[in-house]
Amino acid sequence: MNFKKILVAVDTSENSYRAVEYVGEIVGSSPGFHITLFMVVRPPSRDLFPDDASYQERIKTLKGEAKAFLERAEQKLREKGVADENINSLYQDATGTSIAQNILDFQQRGLFGTVVVGRRGVSKAEEFLFGSVSNKIVHYAKNCTVWVVE
């Protein structure tokens, strides 16, 4: 694993944006680093919507928000001095039941030596009911360094 190959797992939250800022600050124009912004989104269940139109509208909104976030995050990295050719971003629909597992699968396949996540700080009850992507990543990550940005 190459620790200079950094996977920043993001959603559209401000915590994620802070993680991107932090990575930009640390890496800046240092040579040899490559940063991948990776967003895994679980499309909402169709069951939550009374009709197809409202469901498709929500999907469209979510994709638009994801795209806007990734553009804003890339821009922030460039502002911090990271060269354009050392940044790329990817969007993926979640598969299975765990976004954290999707991120770690991608990390293993891409031989990323560093994984960065933002964390909003959830209570125990929230973690039980809703789960926590960052906690799962800390718990299950192998062969890499994990940075958790709060």
């Binding site: 069951d47 939550l48 125990k124 009850a125 009911l129 809703f130 789960g131």
Partner: protein, 323 residues
């Protein structure tokens, strides 16, 4: 229209006498208008509406206007018709708020999935003339499990050693049923004490009401698992306990003051999860399962299988103690 209904009743159920005869509905969109004496015609059968179903919560009757208690005129069978009502609302669970959605499509899908599996309520869905997914549910002759347990007259110790092992065995079967839903990518969505029934004739435990759903990104089954834990807490304790109940039970002050926040439920922060402090004869391994749902828990069950892996040995232990 009333004459048509009168004619239908006379033809199929001549012994029935109604106080009023209403209309025949093939489109159930305006479910609030449909009431006693009306007939819903769907799937080739006629369902005479007797009343709206209601849920009792904290002593208050909460009418469910979209759920109709019916008689099938052609067969005389009782049936419950659940009409389409898309709603979303905030559900308060202790200090947390969860956005909840009612999905007729989800319930119809689960009814298909569990057809013939008597661990669940049975039924089918039909589309009415307007395309609404109407669920036609077979009535379970039975009683809420929690009521049955609560009404047992013996004290806790007698209940725990005599009745609870058999209840736990059946409850484990009910948990396996929820595991089956999860393996098929479905969640129950509303695991509460009043949604597990004992069928009178067979004694079987059966889950009801599958139309709630939620949007959880990373822990899709977390709420179901927490529901199972809360139910287990009730069954093991033969009730729910808060500090004031302990005072009423006559527990000494030293015991009462020994409770810390870690002994209480993770979500319902006034409910005691550490039952062993009240009933010292509760085995350690069962109490440890309960403590996974307490504020002191450091690890949580992520699947029904994990929960059952800890719970099944408790049953073996209790059965051994019974011999």
């Amino acid at each position: 229209m009333a004459a048509e209904v009168r004619e239908l009743v006379k033809r199929y159920r001549p012994s029935l006498s109604l106080a009023s005869y209403g209309k025949i509905y093939v489109d159930t969109t305006s479910f609030m208008e449909i009431g006693y004496g009306d007939v819903i015609a769907i799937g080739g059968l006629h369902y005479l509406v007797l009343r709206d179903e209601a849920e009792r919560s904290y002593g208050i009757e909460d009418p469910k206007y979209w759920v109709k208690r019916c008689i099938v005129l052609e067969t005389g069978d009782r049936a419950i018709l659940k009409l389409v009502f898309h709603e979303s609302f905030d559900l308060k669970l202790g200090n947390l708020t969860v956005r909840c959605y009612r999905s007729p499509e989800k319930e119809a899908r689960i009814l298909d999935l569990v057809r013939g599996d008597m661990r669940f309520m049975q039924g089918r869905s039909e589309r009415d003339a307007a395309g609404n997914v109407v669920r036609i549910i077979e009535v379970i002759s039975g009683k809420r499990l929690d009521q049955a347990v609560y009404e047992m007259e013996e004290d806790h110790e007698a209940y725990f050693f005599k009745d609870f092992p058999n209840i736990l065995e059946k409850f484990i079967g009910s948990c396996e049923a929820i595991g089956f839903l999860h393996r098929n990518g479905e969640l129950h969505g509303d695991i509460r004490r009043d949604h597990l029934w004992i069928e009178h004739r067979t004694g079987r435990y059966r889950w009801i009401d599958f139309d709630y759903t939620y949007d959880f990104a990373e822990s899709p089954f977390g709420l179901d698992i927490f529901g199972l834990g809360s139910l287990l807490l009730f069954l093991a304790g033969k009730g729910i306990y808060r500090l004031q109940e302990l005072e009423e039970m006559g527990l000494d002050e030293r015991s009462i003051t020994s409770f810390s926040s870690n002994d209480f439920s993770l979500l319902y922060v006034n409910r005691i999860a550490n039952l062993k402090k009240i009933f010292p004869y509760i085995p350690e391994e069962l109490n440890n399962v309960l403590l996974h749902f307490s504020q002191g828990a450091e690890v949580f069950y992520e699947s029904v299988d994990e929960f059952l892996a800890d719970l099944r040995p408790c049953l073996n232990h209790l059965k051994e103690a019974q011999k």
